[in-house]
């Protein structure tokens, strides 16, 4: 069986092919489109998705060595995300599936991330604790089966990745914040400033807005404004911030591991690329003797492979969708996460 996966919920357009359970193509616009088609890819643009999608599908099928008619299942992200961007991938997928008379499965983007660990050689085992951390989402989940996902906690304000981006901009490191902060913080002292870790009403919820404000307040109090921070202090501030942000994620995961019976831990989403977070999760896995699955970098960011995988999972579970299924902007609109 050949499964086509299309992702277009935000900045990235991505197309993947899974054949007989094996991933044989996973093209991501920011990496693959640039080099092969030239020109600048504008961000946040439905038109950009539109321009990139077709060539990317062709390239992906060529890489997989199959033709259009050999696709057996078409999957695409239906939400959450930007409606205009989602509609490009979703409408294409529906039209394509209809024309080749094959089933179509709409996929929840976050559920794609949740099961992205299954793209790895070593897969998570149910029930597993899953932390989804990205620019737009921070969710702690208990994944009991393919269709039973319990939400334990989420952010009450900013997402973890957003905190990295904003603090990075504030410190003058630029975008993307995650890698820049990580680079600056490498081998620096983490106790230069004692930034707080938020305590929320729900013990598994997160809050990163307070951390952002306290970094800002510290800078105002000590230096007046960010432009006056001595260069030698920047890495230590970055390291102290990173330490607090990572601690906040780890502390809640630790609490959940104590409370819920699990077989594995999975750390997914763009922020899962952070080295310190990965190291801390290794420690957690060692402490609780759990199997840890962190997808490799190409599956941490937004990608079509996880959409194709999640789509096939739902298809195999016998779940059917009709062609009038629409794109949805919010996570809560259509999901197995309860």
């Amino acid at each position: 069986m050949n499964v086509l996966g299309i992702e277009s919920s935000c900045d990235e357009t991505s197309v993947a092919v899974i054949s007989e359970g094996r991933l044989i193509s996973n093209l991501i616009s920011s990496q693959d489109f640039h080099t092969n088609y030239g020109g600048v890819v504008p961000e946040l643009s439905s038109r950009a998705h539109l321009q990139i999608l077709l060539p990317l599908v062709k390239q992906s099928l060529a890489q997989a060595g199959i033709t259009l008619n050999q696709i057996d299942l078409v999957t695409a992200t239906a939400g959450p995300g930007l409606i205009g961007a989602l509609l490009v991938g979703l409408s294409f997928a529906k039209g394509f599936a209809y024309s080749i008379k094959k089933p179509f499965i709409p996929v929840n983007h976050i559920e794609g991330h949740i099961f992205s660990g299954f793209l790895m050689e070593e897969k998570p085992e149910f029930p597993y604790l899953c932390l989804v951390v990205s620019g737009g989402h921070t969710l702690l989940l208990l994944v009991e089966s393919e269709t039973e996902i319990k939400k334990l906690g989420t952010t009450i304000d900013d997402a973890a990745g957003e905190a990295f981006d904003k603090i990075s901009k504030l410190l003058g490191f630029g975008y993307p914040g995650g890698p820049k902060i990580q680079e600056a913080a490498l081998n620096q002292r983490t106790d230069f400033v004692d930034f707080p870790i938020a305590q929320c009403k729900n013990e598994f919820d997160f809050s990163f807005s307070g951390l952002k404000t306290s970094v800002l307040r510290f800078i105002q109090k000590e230096y007046g404004d960010a432009s006056k921070i001595p260069n030698e202090h920047l890495p230590s501030i970055a390291a102290s911030f990173q330490y607090s942000a990572v601690r906040a994620l780890v502390v809640n995961t630790d609490k959940a591991l104590r409370k819920y019976k699990t077989n594995s831990i999975s750390l997914v989403g763009g922020v899962a690329a952070n080295k310190m977070l990965r190291d801390e999760f290794q420690k957690l896995a060692g402490k609780y003797k759990k199997k840890l699955v962190i997808p490799s970098a190409e599956f941490c960011g937004d990608n079509g492979a996880m959409i194709a995988y999640r789509g096939s999972q739902l298809h195999q579970a016998g779940i059917k969708y009709s062609f009038d299924f629409n794109a949805f902007p919010s996570l809560s609109d259509h999901t197995f996460i309860k």
Partner: protein, 142 residues
């Protein structure tokens, strides 16, 4: 609440009080602009207003650019922080969102693209005055 409105605030609960009063005035089709430095409490203000419409899932749209919430009122919550060009906003369908008379629209960092904004709006500015105080001002335009 009379406009222009100005108040110095020391605590979160004072912001909540102002937001509650403000929430009673807003009607569908209206647009609320929010500006002020990083961490000054723009998202918190929107969250506090929406709480009075029975909406409890407000979070920052900095990454997503736009969030939608529905309960007693329909809310669209924009954040221009990550937007680089005005074309991106047109492409997202900004005009469709703001011309919808059934939704209340909040726009954080609206100052980044003043040209695209309707003249009739509420403009909220939040300033840090010193370490423990902030100043909220609300001006009604048009």
């Amino acid at each position: 609440m009379k406009f222009p409105f100005h108040k110095k605030i020391k605590t979160e609960s004072e912001t909540v009080e102002i937001a509650e009063e403000f929430s009673k005035l807003l009607i569908p089709g209206e647009i609320v602009l929010l500006n002020g430095d990083l961490g000054c409490g723009k998202t918190f203000f929107v969250k506090s207003v929406c709480r009075h419409y029975g909406i409890l899932n407000v979070s920052s749209p900095s990454f997503s650019i736009v969030n939608e919430y529905h309960n007693d009122k329909n809310i669209v919550h924009f954040d221009f922080y990550r937007v680089k060009k005005i074309e991106e906003l047109y492409d997202i369908g900004f005009e469709d969102y703001i011309m919808n008379n059934e939704t209340i629209v909040f726009i954080e960092w609206s100052n980044m693209f003043m040209k695209i904004l309707p003249k009739k709006n509420y403009e909220i500015e939040i300033k840090f005055t010193n370490n423990s105080e902030r100043e909220i001002s609300i001006v009604k335009h048009g």
